[in-house]
Symmetry: C2
Subunit: 132 residues, 2 copies
């Protein structure tokens, strides 16, 4: 949810203030990013990072970057709840292995291509190859 649509929700406390059972002030740092209709988003980041650390991070980043910061924290928190051992670092390992696999596959395919090109004769030099 963007901060521009926050005005729709000013009558309800945001999900963070509701969770923390406190008054949601007009300058609440959480309100633009934790709308009341998404209670799990705050509950997750609270459980993994704690409200005070999330608030500290929000104050550290520029207002126009806070939505991205909250969404990345929510992503990390959800990943950690699903996989308490590796969290989203598990996804990084899977992607790193996939990059390596694709690089090897591409190299082998380029080698095949070079062999075909040399079979056709004289065209090898015209083929530059694709090198990731």
């Amino acid at each position: 949810m963007s901060s521009s649509s926050y005005s729709n929700y000013t009558n309800s406390p945001c999900a963070a203030c509701k969770f923390l059972r406190r008054k949601c002030s007009s300058d609440c740092v959480f309100a633009p990013y934790f709308p009341p209709e998404e209670p799990l988003k705050f509950a997750n980041v609270h459980r993994i990072f704690g409200a005070s650390n999330v608030s500290k991070i929000l104050h550290e980043v520029a207002p126009h970057q806070r939505e991205d910061a909250v969404n990345s924290l929510a992503y990390e928190a959800e990943a950690r709840l699903k996989d308490p051992v590796y969290g989203c670092v598990g996804a990084i390992s899977v992607l790193q292995r996939e990059v390596l696999r694709l690089q090897r596959e591409l190299e082998e395919t380029n080698n095949d291509l070079m062999r075909y090109a040399s079979c056709l004769g004289g065209e090898t030099s015209a083929y530059g190859g694709r090198r990731g």
Copy 2:
């Protein structure tokens, strides 16, 4: 540091207990994973997740998985300190884009290979192509 080498450090409080200024007991949940000579490792995870959340996560996972859990938390914490907006989710985005780029490159190279094979005539059917 593996828990087996923890015995070398039982005379000093672990980095967590030193940071939190508390007595490091023989059953301290942090001690095997936060040796005193790596004070930044605990300081980072404490700053991003909070000691109590780290302790909760450690109690949730099996003892043989705790070292991996601590290392992934330390990785996430360091990434968040370097990039408060995206943390390690930034690395995931970069890797996802790299996987897509390599998949496209591999597809184009396979198409080139098929064209070369058909130029050589009759060998196309023998070539199965590499499809990531």
